[in-house]
Symmetry: C2
Subunit: 156 residues, 2 copies
């Protein structure tokens, strides 16, 4: 078994254990320098946290472990293609590579909304099922001007 | 000032305070039955957590407060159009409505990747800047079969 397959097998093991323990069927691991530094599974129902997907949880654990919000040099192995939330999290974390196993369409077949959210994100604001309404932009831009003017800011 | 503007003004206030305190220029509040139940700002650098955007933080606080992963009946007011991560989180949380002020293009102008991640998400796997590689699907599908077969599962 190649090392990539070994790491993915670990993510899949976590996804199956998660089902046994009452969670969603998703697992993820993060690898740095050939070693697993974070293991996680879906904890949405257990933690009352709709953001507690396996990938988000693994990123939080790895970032805490490395004491940085920037996970360059790390790879993520997830048992299912990330939903838009996790996809975004992977980009913000600056991960080098993403390995996945099941697809968003596989997830759809067992009742998860991953594929629906991908469709929604591609729609214009006024066509989305959750209304997206813009107000007070001029007022909000002041915060962006504050950011631009701040000399000692930590960019991310 | 309409009540929607009052809630958004609070989100904007949080975004400006965040810059003062060394965080990113983003704030969000969640409202239920006409009352703010969660207030948050961006904590990426402060918490070493790339997922700690204002919207994600507000959703986590509201879900903890209400002891549920399902925030139906709630609205989110965010000082900036959500990135794909936060957009996904809003859908998973089942929020009723999303109000935003700044746009993803406004965020791009001050150096944030929101707009870039929207472009990436629309690309096929092999065109993305972070390589997206599929392996071991057959093995991973077993977790989805476990889920299908589980009779006492908590769906979300």
């Amino acid at each position: 078994m190649k090392k990539e397959e070994k790491f993915m097998a670990e993510a899949i093991k976590l996804s199956r254990e998660s089902v046994k323990n009452g969670g969603g069927p998703f697992g993820a691991v993060i690898v740095k320098d050939g070693k697993i530094i974070a293991k996680a599974s879906n904890k949405v129902t257990e933690n009352h946290d709709p953001t507690a997907h396996a990938e988000v949880n693994a990123i939080r654990i790895a970032a805490k472990e490395l004491e940085t919000f920037n996970l360059e040099g790390c790879e993520i192995y997830t048992s299912c293609e990330p939903c838009p939330m996790c996809f975004g999290a992977i980009y913000w974390a600056r991960l080098d590579k993403l390995y996945f196993a099941n697809t968003k369409d596989d997830a759809k077949k067992i009742g998860f909304d991953d594929s629906f959210i991908y469709e929604e994100i591609a729609l214009p604001h006024d066509k989305r099922s959750i209304p997206n309404i813009q107000i007070l932009r001029e007022e909000a831009l002041k915060a962006f001007q504050d950011w631009e003017n701040k000399e000692d800011k930590i960019e991310y």
